[in-house]
Subunit: 359 residues, 2 copies
């Protein structure tokens, strides 16, 4: 980002001079990296948005028509539920496939929810509250022949779970730049399958087809109006490049190892109530818990004040998930790990929780 | 931006720990600076978007209903025209008030275009092709009693023209961060008047009202879903803070002085055809020209290759403006100045143009 700001500053596609061309190449290079990461059918089908939420809205508002029916899980984030509650007012109907108390989804629950009008299934790849992985490959396989399109919210998994959109059969993959991809806030996007199309959410200048007052039909321009966040994309590119060198599977292994240690340590602690999958093999490195009857905010406060451990407390913008887990009334304390978290960090978290629980 | 990335990294509104609170305060501080800059009725009515284009789309899609009529000028950018061409398909009608060959707009042309169904007038404050200022105060005064709402696209003027939304009577002011405000790409926004409301363009998590699957009704959260570009907002805040210290009127004076020198110098150059207002008092620091019969791309290429001067050539995502100027067929070479441009830069540009014209 520093390099882009100090040495470039050009706006991709907005002029023919050298700095604009450098910016255009930079952005194309990041499309290409993301296309490699997710095995997209073409870099042009990687669309940049300001965050995962915009990408999800682009899918929902750009694909669904009045009369269509959608199936989601009961672990979805409000980035999914709030646009869908709005779309219900506009003639789209919704079914919610119930997950169990750990956040697991039986693919048959999705199948049971299908109707002749179902046009889209949208699942979070992993819960942002518990990290529990949803069976996206099984659901994709089940619906492959049906003509129903499949969208996956990979906000929690992009960069930590290998995702091959073509072999799994994901028509719309949405991601954020600022979680496990390691990029800055203000970045995110969408990978479009080879045979799907969307209406734009935002219309405007694209630096292309400037003679026309109508939105161009080609990708990525059709879905990327206005000045791009080139500095953010530069940061995302540096992060994804580093990630690809390190290897997504290596990140996954590292995080699973840490989560095994964390889960096992929690079993020793009386009064600590962990949620989600008991087996870290079925989750990403996110874990929610409560301590006895303490309000989650109080636990979060003590963790920060006394142990310099930062967590997110409350409902995590995911009321549906907390209803599923039975924690809607009180919320949870959410821990998360990354490629840069160490075993010493896990021990410190366990020690801190032991002391808080003992009080 | 460096300070935010190295020392904070928190997500505004997304947790209760210290770094999230620092990020929340940072973002609120930038809302407050922008509110001061534009004299908004409240910092909560400053909405952040990823660029000016998203802000304009938010106004048009969030305010207009089928049956409504809109008036714009013939100098609008495709950030305005492309969403409006889409809205025409959805039952909104459009009239275009014709500007003259220099890009000037007679407020009476707007008045003549009004119908009983007119609900919104949207004008660019200054053309991105010629810099010509449009008479926003006169149009606002003319329509103040009518109940028609007034939107201003300040992409070219925010940071270089003093704008007081309350005293002028602007209901929706849209701006970008990366032009005269001096901030990074990926930032922009909207100032909402005290008695107007919009439907969201993007629905989702806001870090607030997390118990509800419905979008909150309060501002700014209602219109800002998903993770904010906090690092971009940090950069925008540093820029606006510096700008407020320097003084917007001082920027304007500096740019006008440079443009007088540029315009006067161009008068001496045979074959150089400048467009837009002959008097820089009626424009911001943007100037389009052509050289004889040379393609604009050729002039731009020579300016960069031989003189290290970067311009934008072509149609500038504004076909309507080029139709108005009579340059739609060939485009123009666009120069622009900033607070950091010097008189020596202007002399260098004039020398370069003289040599290109002489060839």
């Amino acid at each position: 980002m520093k390099d882009y700001l100090e040495n470039c500053g050009g706006s991709p596609g907005r002029a023919a001079h050298g700095k604009a061309l450098v910016a255009s190449r930079l952005v194309y290079g990041v499309r290409d990296l993301l296309s490699t990461l997710f095995n997209a059918s073409s870099p042009d089908r990687v669309i940049f948005t300001k965050n995962a939420t915009e990408a999800i809205n682009l899918v929902l508002f750009g694909f669904l028509n009045p009369g269509d029916h959608v199936v989601v899980s009961s672990m979805e984030h409000n980035a999914v539920m709030r646009p869908l509650r709005e779309l219900e007012k506009r003639g789209i109907s919704l079914s919610i496939a119930q997950c169990d108390l750990h956040g697991f989804l039986d693919p048959l629950a999705v199948k049971a929810a299908l109707t002749p009008r179902t046009r889209l299934i949208l699942l979070t790849h992993a819960s942002n509250v518990t990290g529990t992985l949803l069976p996206i490959a099984d659901v994709a396989a089940m619906t492959r022949e049906s003509g129903i399109r499949f969208a996956v919210d990979a906000a929690q998994t992009a960069g930590v779970c290998p995702i091959d959109v073509q072999s799994v059969g994901v028509d719309f993959l949405t991601f954020t730049g600022h979680k496990s991809l390691g990029g800055p806030q203000g970045t995110g996007g969408l990978v479009l399958g080879p045979d799907v199309d969307l209406r734009p959410l935002v219309f405007g200048g694209t630096g292309s087809a400037s003679e026309s007052e109508f939105q161009p039909e080609f990708l990525p321009d059709k879905l990327e109006s206005g000045t791009l966040n080139a500095v953010g994309v530069a940061g995302l590119g540096a992060a994804v490049s580093s990630l690809l060198n390190f290897g997504v599977e290596n990140v996954a292994q590292h995080e699973r190892k840490l989560m095994h240690a964390f889960r096992n340590g929690l079993l020793e602690l009386p009064h600590v109530i962990p949620y989600g999958s008991e087996n870290p093999e079925n989750a990403v490195g996110v874990l929610s818990l409560n301590v006895g009857d303490l309000p989650c905010e109080e636990v979060g406060l003590q963790l920060e004040r006394d142990y310099d451990i930062l967590t997110r407390t409350g409902l995590h913008c995911a009321p549906a998930a907390h209803h599923t887990l039975g924690t809607f009334g009180r919320g949870t304390v959410r821990f998360s790990v990354s490629r840069f978290t160490t075993e010493a960090d896990i021990s410190a978290a366990l020690d801190a929780l032991a002391k808080i629980a003992r009080r």
